[in-house]
Amino acid sequence: MAAIELDGVTKRYGEVTAVSDLSLSVPEGAVFGFLGPNGAGKSTTINMLLDFVRPTDGTVRVLGRDAQDESVDVRRHTGVLPEGFDVYGRLTGRKHVEFALDSKEVDGDPDALLDRVGLADAAERKAGGYSKGMRQRLALAMALAGDPDLLVLDEPSSGLDPQGAKEMREIVRAEAERGATVFFSSHVLGQVEAVCDRVGILRDGQLVAEDSIDGLRDAVGGEETLVVTVDAASDEQLAAVRALEGVAGASTDGGTVTVSCDPDAKTAVIGALEEEGVTVTDFQTEEASLEDLFLAYAGDETAAQREVSR
């Protein structure tokens, strides 16, 4: 049985189509990374899994149940870390976790859950005084309450420092080992590559790729990342590079230019850069990383967003 099954799902808000004819199947026990730039429709999709939002068309099934008609039952077996949520500022961290346990009608030790997400010391404090990262951890503790069959994490690393993001990955791994299915969205790729065994890439409301990470690498073919060290380069100068055949994407931070391309396109890339007046001092190639896949699938505008999010 698939843990998540979307079939021909479309969601329109008036004239705007947030998700378009999306079909997706996440097998039980998988750790599924749901990738895409901001505004691609990731949160809308997640909101449809939880019945926060109803599809205009198509069917959504979660844990073998209809996501709309049997939503309470779905959520009884699902732990959720929502996006754009807020805590109850006047209630303590422990109260929040107790509320989650009571709501799921399960016994559990709130302190153990808080300890697991690194909030043991803040259990007695009102959540209104928590930082963004602590709120994120608190919601994760609530999600983990009752050992859910499915974890739905919407941008789980946002607000977390690198240490927090690492702990988040460890929890995801531990939950997967326990047998839970994990579905999480991200526009930051480092975290996804390290924990996911399957990845779906969403762009403009459409699934542009769905595969294992190895499968995606193969699908992109022998594409490589060419890292060119230059004296100075601007984004405008990359237009010529992007126009080349065999180039999937290009970005620059000023001192280096990163291009994902076919191996045979390398010479043309260097040539195009020099033609634009950029002095190439050095270059090297790297094996395709998920970052490059993302670049290839999700388009160039995400490169800028990725810089901002770091």
């Binding site: 959720v80 870390l81 949520f85 006047r90 709501s103």
Partner: protein, 273 residues
């Protein structure tokens, strides 16, 4: 029961609000002041029921302040969580949207009851110790009726709060509800009363002027409350000759308790959050 879990959480949250704490203090002071004002002169005996039934408590204090406190406590119940985002946390847990609406009605009613019960209890103790003839049954019964009236306004506010996605609209709604039921209603009723009293009548209606006035009185939760509490304190509640009126008043309060949240829920259920 899921809606009770929601209600308990909501009560614990709302009761910690500074607003509610301030309202409690205000209410205690006010009831205390009224009790002081209507205290018996030396040699006179006044019963606690008379105090409660006085113009000060029943009309000025309860029917103008209770709706206000109830609306302040509840107007933000659902829409506040919707705009802050805590609703996402709440609905990530296995609660249906009806659990949320009706849990909120219960939780906020309990939160509303706190200042009222404390506000009546403290002066009640003073009354019991002081010069008044204290009737604890009447006192408790009256407090319960006040809670019922407040709960009706909480229900109206929660219903409105569930139906709208806009925080501003919820504030405007609460203000509108207050003005409709408190000052405006009286302003409409009074000239009508004069008009009908002078022999005018709605010829186009199959009702007499008295019936229209009675209906207007019943329709307003504060009017139904006054009918019930006045009769209760006068030991006339559900007396045979006024039984129908009292049952109607009680039914009206229960209707206000149930229908607005139900309507709000219907809107809320179909909304994209």
């Amino acid at each position: 029961m899921s809606w009770q879990v929601v209600a308990r959480k909501d009560f614990e949250d709302a009761v910690r609000s500074r607003w509610l704490i301030a309202l409690t203090a205000f209410f205690v002071l006010l009831v205390g002041a009224v009790v002081f004002v209507v205290r018996p002169a030396p040699g006179e005996t006044v019963s606690s029921s008379q105090v409660l039934n006085s113009l000060f408590i029943k009309d000025a204090l309860v029917t103008t302040l209770v709706p206000l406190i109830a609306l302040v406590t509840a107007y933000n119940a659902v829409v506040g969580e919707r705009s802050s985002g805590s609703l996402k946390l709440l609905l990530s847990l296995p609660h249906s949207r009806s659990d949320v609406v009706f849990g909120k009605v219960l939780g906020r009613s309990a939160a509303f009851a706190t200042p009222v019960v404390v506000g009546f209890l403290l002066p009640g103790i003073v009354l019991a110790l002081g010069p008044l003839q204290f009737d604890p049954v009447a006192f408790l019964g009256f407090t319960l009726l006040v809670v019922l009236l407040g709960a009706a306004f909480v229900s109206i506010a929660v219903g409105f709060s569930s139906a709208t996605a806009s925080h501003r609209l919820a504030v405007a709604g609460a203000i509108g509800i207050y003005f409709l039921f408190v000052p405006l209603w009286g302003a409409i009723q009074f000239p009508l009363q004069l008009y009908f009293g002078m022999g005018g009548g709605p010829a186009w209606l199959p009702l007499t002027g008295t019936e229209v006035l009675r209906f207007l009185r019943l329709l307003n939760p504060t009017g139904s409350f006054k009918i019930l509490s006045g009769a209760f304190l006068g030991d006339q509640l559900f007396a045979s000759d006024v039984l129908r009126l009292h049952v109607a008043a009680l039914s009206m309060l229960v209707t206000w308790l149930l229908v607005p949240p139900l309507l709000g829920y219907v809107r809320f259920e179909s909304a994209d959050l």
